[in-house]
């Protein structure tokens, strides 16, 4: 399986996860969507030196990973892709913010190191909860939630189509690369001279595909609005789930929970 086919397989596996019939999957999508937004906002707002506060916030994604039975290993493999970008953002902190905070066995730990670690954890947590949202909620339901939140329709349609057609685009790219490699068997990768024409091909095919899909949609009455089948009703469990997590988020964010727990045991 080449890398592109692997990517398609991974997207499809996320779709399979999101379509399961589990407790979290059945929570109202708007509740999950709002909780994710609140969670991300609270995590991002944590002070850059408050490493304990960020670690405390990890309770939510850990809970979701366990309760939804989502494989830890696969999840962290996916995170591995974005980790270098997060590290790149925080890597300069130790150089610019070099006030020594404490030392461990003569190793000086500066505030920059702490802020870098905090930033990395923040990055991981925010990406992780976003991933967990799409792994527990189908894209249609996420778009339904956005619609309920009165987000611009054009934005919602774009999200829906980017998600839906990323697979088609990858498939097209995969076909082009397969055709290339079959005619260049001893070559590793793609010769840079062919990059331009391959990308051009991909662009032309994508435009063609997009045009055909739009034609197909307009032939079936599409006029810019998406209509959703669901008018999902809120259950008692949705409200309870929301209140409990909101309480926990605020508690974790504004109280030094780890410190309090630590003090009890030490």
């Amino acid at each position: 399986m080449n890398k592109l086919n692997k990517a398609i397989y991974e997207i499809q596996s996320i779709e399979d996860l999101s379509s399961r019939d589990s407790f979290i999957n059945n929570i109202h999508p708007l509740i999950k969507f709002i909780l994710t937004i609140i969670y991300i906002s609270l995590v991002v707002s944590i002070d850059k030196y408050n490493i304990g506060g960020v670690i405390g916030m990890s309770i939510y994604p850990i809970f979701l990973l366990i309760i939804c039975d989502i494989p830890f290993k696969d999840t962290f493999k996916k995170l591995k892709i974005v980790l270098p970008f997060i590290l790149l953002i925080g890597i300069f902190n130790p150089f610019f913010d070099n006030k020594i905070l404490f030392t461990i066995n003569d190793i000086k730990i500066s505030t920059g190191v702490i802020s870098m670690i905090t930033l990395v954890i923040k990055g991981i947590l925010t990406i992780l909860v976003s991933y967990l949202l799409i792994a527990t909620t189908t894209i249609d339901k996420i778009c339904y939630s956005m619609d309920k939140m009165h987000l611009p329709k054009i934005f919602i349609t774009e999200v829906l189509f980017i998600y839906r057609y990323i697979t088609v685009l990858i498939k097209e790219a995969s076909k082009i690369i397969e055709a290339y490699s079959l005619r260049a068997p001893n070559q590793k990768g793609i010769n840079y001279k062919a990059w331009g024409s391959l990308l051009g091909q991909l662009l032309l095919r994508s435009i063609d595909k997009a045009e055909n899909i739009y034609e197909s949609m307009s032939l079936r009455g599409y006029s810019g609005n998406f209509y959703y089948s669901y008018n999902i009703k809120y259950n008692k469990k949705d409200y309870i789930y929301f209140i409990i997590w909101l309480f926990l988020f605020i508690t974790m964010r504004f109280l030094p929970i780890l410190q309090i727990v630590g003090n009890i045991f030490i």
Partner: protein, 245 residues
Amino acid sequence: MSHIHIDVQNLSFAYEKEEPILKNISFTAKENDSIGIIGANGVGKSTLLKLLVGLNLNFQGSIRVENIPVEKNTLSIIRERIGFVFQDSDNQLFMSNVYEDIAFAPRNYGLSEEEVKIRVENALKLVHINNLKDKKIHKLSGGEKKLASIATIFSMTPDIILMDEPSIALDPKNRRNLINILNEFQHLKIIASHDLDMILDTCNRTILMAKGEIIKDGDTREILTDKVLLEANNLELPLSMQKII
């Protein structure tokens, strides 16, 4: 007398500054006609079908569907009456699962969710794919995709169906299934295809095209048994006829 559903007069079409794809096409199609459009690659079969639903309005001549001219401001009325099946099913299926895709058109036409459900179930039944109702689009085989894309137009309860190469990607059993479905459809259907055996099984009238023009318009059996005519237009006798003639 049958009601005229499609009336095409002196239709010509070319993409900007290019050679004309269609030249002076004229024909009428009645309520219960089953018309096969045949011809070699690039003769303009798909283009003709696309023009009938107004996917390109830069044509010369006139197209009328149920006496309504195909123009920008009449497209929504016309498209509500015509179901169009694309050659590539990936263009037709864009929702997450089969149910949602079949429900797309009825929802756009403002039907209640209850009516949508009935329409979807009827369409699934017509195409014999009830078992695929909740299946994810990406998990469908090529043949299943084709049948699902046909179901997406049946949910519109169209008066007219246009199909561009409908038997592509179908195995013999599904192809036979498709032929039966088409024969059960009692309204006007226009099918562009290279599958001459399918045309023979489903259409009572055939339009033979070459170089953007209609070469012959007549009885299917008459045209598809005319070896000289077919070969002169880069076609062959249908397989079932090759043994006989």
